[in-house]
């Protein structure tokens, strides 16, 4: 088993070309994009974005997402109380959908990135294939968290009957939108090849001189 880095080759992030890379950094001969063996500062960037997302996840869930005004008065709903309301009013498939997309997906996504970060930092050789799959899942599923933001967008624009009924987006919408962006950026800055690096280093013959790690 040989990796591209061991042969001093690097795959371009932007166009996929495999190019010779004599130094640590260079430029892709095909598209001109930055070329490196691994995304530079991947773990630090991913950590920073993840921690920021985790902090903002708190206001996103405790502040009101939607403020409903009616003749009876105004009512503030957090994401969770909105789900509970949907559940009790009998719309349980929609309640489950919103619960999954808005609460479970961001939470599981952050836990998954955390797991990837900790195992990579400890240079774990545990289940690389499953962890790569987890990374792929995180990348794929992240966008669906925008669901509740879009629901509020539509409802707020539509329900504007003076004094009778009105819906407005609450401060949690801002926090939540930023959480989605931060978790997506966090997943993008993670380099899945870091999962495999400890596995590949173990397979090299001990004591043999090689310059693959410089």
């Amino acid at each position: 088993m040989t990796t591209a880095r061991q042969m001093r080759l690097a795959g371009c992030h932007d166009c996929g070309l495999l190019a010779r890379l004599p130094h640590e950094h260079g430029h892709c001969p095909r598209c001109g994009g930055a070329l490196h063996f691994r995304k530079p500062g991947s773990l630090a960037k991913t950590w920073a974005l993840l921690i920021a997302a985790m902090i903002l996840y708190i206001p996103a869930n405790t502040l009101p997402m939607m403020i409903t005004g009616s003749i009876v008065g105004t009512q503030s709903d957090t994401i969770l109380s909105g789900v509970v309301y949907l559940w009790t009013s009998g719309d349980w498939p929609i309640a489950a959908l919103v619960f999954f997309a808005s609460i479970m997906v961001p939470l599981l996504k952050m836990i998954a990135i955390l797991l990837l970060l900790i195992t990579c930092q400890r240079r774990s050789r545990w289940a690389p294939q499953q962890r790569t799959r987890l990374y792929r899942l995180v990348e794929f599923v992240g966008r669906w968290s925008m669901l509740d933001i879009y629901v509020v967008t539509i409802l707020a624009a539509l329900v504007q009957v003076q004094s009778l009924a009105s819906i407005a987006a609450g401060p949690a919408a801002v926090a939540f939108a930023i959480v989605v962006v931060l978790t997506m950026l966090s997943a993008m800055s993670f380099d899945p090849r870091l999962i495999w690096d400890p596995v590949d280093e173990e397979q090299e013959i001990p004591g043999e001189t090689h310059d693959a790690n410089h």
Binding site: D91, I154, A157, L164, A177, I195
Partner: protein, 212 residues
């Protein structure tokens, strides 16, 4: 420009490929024998290939662009609330967020449902039309990289699901009348999925290289 039968074993070449997810080097045939070739170690997709990818992508993009214009020109949905008929369009919903103290959310919604999808489709038309006619469009490398960067931020399909959830929520309080934009979006989603499915940037890069 005639499309040669790329899959002829005689014209196939061996090339060295690195998996972008585990860095595994592997010797593969190009053009590949199947539509999707996966990494032998981690299962990541290393090749997506279609003999007529550029033509198909261009056709699907043109159709998507027309539907997207329809989706933006008409209201998405209207409600009848005790005699008050209210409706909103995609642009109207964004404008409303902008004017009601949540500009950050307005920018996010505008980027993911309007700017990025429009940019993706226009870039594809701009890049693929000249390529099919046999010449290299100016700024191709930069624009193709821009396309690659913006791709994850287009979220039309999530938006459609959001609209459907809103409709279910509203049905308890008002009569809901779906607008032409909703039907356009419902047609647009499978088209855009097909467009993204046949869009193989690697094949565009190779065509660009052939022409330079």
């Amino acid at each position: 420009m005639p499309v040669p039968d790329d899959r002829d074993p005689v014209t196939q070449t061996q090339e060295l490929v690195a998996c972008h997810e585990c860095d595994q080097l592997q010797q593969l045939r190009y053009p590949p024998a199947s539509r999707i070739v996966r990494c032998c170690r981690c299962g990541a997709v290393v090749y997506r290939y279609h003999p007529d990818a550029l033509n198909r992508t261009l056709a699907l993009t043109t159709a998507s662009l027309l539907l997207f214009i329809v989706a933006n020109a008409f209201p998405i949905v209207a409600i009848d609330m005790q005699g008050n008929v209210l409706s909103t369009s995609m642009l109207g919903a964004i404008a409303h967020l902008w004017t009601t103290h949540v500009p950050v959310v307005a920018i996010m919604v505008a980027l993911t449902t309007l700017v990025v999808p429009t940019l993706t489709m226009l870039l594809l038309v701009y890049l693929l039309t000249p390529l099919q006619l046999g010449y290299r469009p100016p700024g191709a490398a930069e624009l193709l990289r821009l396309l690659h960067l913006s791709r994850p931020w287009g979220m039309i399909e999530v938006y459609l699901l959001g609209i459907l959830v809103s409709i279910v929520k509203l049905m308890a309080y008002a009569a809901v009348i779906p607008g032409p934009s909703l039907w356009a979006l419902m047609l647009l989603i499978p088209l855009m999925a097909a467009m993204m499915g046949t869009l193989h940037p690697d094949q565009i890069w190779r065509r660009l290289e052939q022409l330079s």
